[in-house]
């Protein structure tokens, strides 16, 4: 027996078994105790509750939702809300971060100072404090009767009201796709090898492509327009309430603004780091080839900087997605808040926590997969890789 313990291999195997085994035992014990405690409260375990109707409501949903809908539908709504808020926050934060980051790398010292002040202030205040601040600010706006109005937009304590076109849902979605195509088409036309024109002399084709897509979008909107209604539906006061238009609730706007500002300050630093990583020689070489400053920027500086910052940016985006869980602080029904509500109402604690973990794991993994693909596509390849 003692000689067996002296054997390195046996000892290693025992050590590993002990480690993994004790961890597994810990988890299992917790699981068993939780099941017994929950059973004492009359809560049966299992995923049957997913098909029961919830009996409560969500305050924000992109899909139709009523209190009669089952739990699985609400979890789906939560995930979509989280992804929607995350995507909006991510886009806004990227815009803010790019502007501030460019200001920080610009040759103008005043612009640098402005950018640095922004980053120093907003990076050093916790996100949740900023969420609370914007939420308080929006809910302290005047009531609908005394709303701030500008170009058909209404700012009230009940949220921001924006005019929307009077167009059917399908037509709206098609028009959105066409607009996205109008943005993507020029990029594709500029890079594809299927055209006979040399790269760099395709601006006419690119313009035409974008124009065709945009005209398509307008046509779709015209066809899908609702009969006997004005083109735009403006929000307006009716009695004590507001009618028409699209209401963006204060919870959503507070979160989106806070994520844009806070995330923007982090992305600004990433952008700055990316531009700093571009070798000076690269730019000097491009200038000495006679490229204009704009083309040096778009053809040399930007692509090289993008390649340097993308991996870090991917991490930041994953972080931003997780930051949407702040929604619970102001009552935005994101995925986490729906799980918390489900636990409160149904008592199915273990199952709901499991769904929460699986959901975030799936979101993180798919984001990571997307960025890995992009990263691979723009990474140095083959004989470009020289020391």
């Amino acid at each position: 027996m003692v000689s067996l313990l002296r054997n390195q291999k046996v000892r290693n195997a025992l050590l590993q078994l002990l480690y993994v085994g004790s961890l597994a035992a810990l988890v299992l014990a917790g699981f068993v105790i939780a099941r017994r405690n929950l059973a004492e409260q009359g809560i049966s375990s299992g995923f049957d509750f997913l098909y029961k109707s919830t009996g409560w409501d969500v305050n924000f949903s992109l899909l139709p939702a009523t209190a009669n809908d089952p739990y699985w539908w609400f979890f789906l709504i939560g995930i979509i809300n989280t992804l929607f808020l995350g995507t909006v926050g991510l886009i806004l934060a990227t815009i803010v971060g790019t502007i501030v980051g460019l200001a920080r790398t610009s040759s103008n010292e005043l612009a640098q100072l402005l950018g640095r002040t922004y980053v120093d202030i907003f990076r050093n205040i916790p996100l949740i404090l900023q969420v609370f601040f914007w939420y308080a600010l929006i809910t302290h706006l005047p009531a609908p009767r005394a709303a701030h109005e500008a170009w058909g937009f209404l700012l009230t304590s009940r949220g921001l009201y924006v005019p929307i076109p009077n167009v059917g849902g399908v037509a709206m979605a098609l028009a959105m796709l066409a607009v996205i195509a109008a943005m993507a088409l020029p990029i594709w036309l500029g890079r594809t090898s299927r055209l006979s024109q040399p790269v760099g002399q395709r601006s006419a084709i690119q313009l035409a492509g974008a124009a065709v897509a945009l005209v398509g979008a307008i046509l779709v909107l015209m066809i899908g327009r609702l009969p006997d209604a004005p083109l735009l539906d403006f929000p307006a006061l009716q009695g004590l309430n507001l009618r028409g238009g699209l209401r963006i609730p204060p919870e959503f706007s507070a979160l989106a603004i806070a994520i844009a500002i806070y995330g923007g300050s982090y992305i600004a630093e990433i952008v700055r780091g990316g531009f700093k990583a571009v070798g000076k020689g690269q730019m000097e070489a491009a200038l000495s080839l006679g490229l204009s400053p704009w083309r040096v920027f778009t053809l040399v500086r930007l692509p090289l900087a993008l390649r340097a910052m993308l991996p870090i940016l991917a991490n930041q985006y994953v972080w931003l997605m997780k930051a949407t869980t702040m929604g619970i602080a102001v009552g935005f029904t994101d995925f986490f808040m729906i799980v918390a509500l489900a636990i409160n109402h149904s008592g199915q604690t273990l199952e709901a926590i499991g769904i929460l973990m699986a959901g975030f794991l799936a979101i993180n993994l798919s984001l990571a997969a997307i960025f890995n693909r992009i990263n691979k596509a723009i990474a140095l390849k083959g004989n470009q890789l020289r020391g």
Binding site: N12, L15, Q16, L17, Y19, V20, L23, G30, F31, I33, A34, N37, L38, S106, S107, N108, E109, L110, A111, L113, L114, D120, I121, R123, N124, I125, P126, L127, I128, L129, F132, F133, A136, L137, H140, K322, A323, T325, M326, I328, A329, F336, V339, A340, I343, T349, L350, I353, L356, M357, F360, L361, N364, L365
Partner: protein, 359 residues
């Protein structure tokens, strides 16, 4: 014969300004726009915060609300709630002293003379014990104050300090386990670390505060405060473990091989050769992690603690000060800013200092 070196003619002040800000028409335009933005914002801010602001409590909320600028009276009237929460009024000096302890402790651990494992552990251990004794009382004639009455800045600092105190050793353990040569140990640990990192902190705090009592035997449940601290320490250690591991990867393999050749045991190799060098490599990232984790202590407001953010909400949320939310949030933001900004400046200073040695 020394060669005579002529300095280039020094440019005048005006030429210098011209070259820096008005070199080209575009530069001039950008400069002017930036200057205009800065002057406008600075003027608005100063006017709001100082010139048109009300500082005294005498007029009461009504006089304050009528003023065009900030209403700092709300801070003058409610600062005790914001800083100390529900801590008993006569004992609040203890809470203040406890906060000072944390600040002193942090400053001490920023001095290189304290950067040995034993000294840093001593400073933090003694500091945490002093903090705990002051806050909780029951010794040396100090009246007892239970954790449920703690609040405000002191609670924020307590959660931060204990998170680091538990999280840091745990992080080193996790990092060592993850780089273990035994595949099952390193893989399982990697799974734990990556799993924790992929979850949002709020969900972990929620699980530890509200769900865990179901899964623990009665005698292990303990106070909610300590469960949340354990959860936040776990989260901290998962991130910090990766930082420590990164630092260890930066230590040349020859170092450990040399130690092995000298016949050092595993713990000697880790404690005397690998960890000291790894911690040095990992120091800037570690400070950054401290900064992040300080900001994230504010999330405990969601699981119902009366830390500085919640006490701020309470300070303006009731009755007559309802309108003064901007001032309260500005005050809390300022407190966070002082802590976080000085820590991150210190991190940047360290990074520069270490870069000198590597040139």
């Amino acid at each position: 014969m020394e060669p005579i070196v002529l300095a280039p003619p020094a440019p005048g002040k005006v030429e210098d300004l011209k070259r820096r800000f008005f070199a080209t028409p575009l530069q001039a335009l950008v400069s002017l726009i930036c200057l205009a933005i800065m002057v406008f914002l600075a003027w608005k801010l100063l006017d709001w915060a100082i010139f048109s602001a009300v500082f005294t409590v005498t007029g009461g909320p009504e006089a304050c609300q009528a003023a065009a600028g900030a209403c700092w009276s709300v801070i003058a009237a409610r600062w005790r709630i914001i800083l100390f929460g529900l801590y008993p009024f006569e004992e609040q000096w203890r809470s203040a002293l406890a906060c000072v302890t944390v600040v002193v402790m942090t400053v001490l651990s920023c001095i290189p003379a304290f950067w040995t494992g034993r000294r840093i552990a001593l400073v933090w251990g003694a500091g945490a014990a002093l903090f705990y004794g002051l806050m909780k009382g029951g010794v040396l004639g100090l009246p007892y104050v239970g954790e449920e009455a703690w609040g405000g800045l002191a609670l924020t600092l307590f959660i931060f300090v204990t998170t680091c105190l538990i999280g840091f050793p745990l992080a080193i353990c996790l990092a060592l386990l993850r780089r273990s040569e035994l595949p099952w140990i390193s893989r399982t640990t990697g799974l734990i670390i990556d799993g924790v990192r992929s979850l949002p902190l709020i969900s972990i705090l929620f699980t530890f505060a509200i769900v865990l009592p179901f899964a623990l035997p009665q005698w292990l449940v303990g106070d909610k405060l300590y469960r949340v601290i354990v959860g936040s320490a776990l989260f901290f250690s998962a991130y910090q473990a990766e930082i420590v591991r990164g630092g260890m990867q930066g230590v040349p393999a020859g170092q450990e091989e040399a130690a092995m050749a000298l016949g050092m045991s595993y713990w000697q190799r880790i404690g005397r050769i690998v960890l000291p060098q790894a911690m040095r490599n990992a120091l800037p990232a570690t400070i950054n992690q401290f900064v992040i984790s300080f900001k994230e202590t504010s999330l405990v407001v969601i699981v119902g603690f009366f830390e500085i953010l919640a006490s701020g909400n309470a300070a303006y949320g009731t009755g007559e000060w309802r309108f003064a939310y901007v001032e309260v949030y500005a005050f809390i933001a300022f407190i966070y800013f002082i802590f976080v900004f000085s820590l991150s400046r210190y991190g940047a200073f360290l990074e520069r200092r270490m870069a000198v040695g590597e040139r």
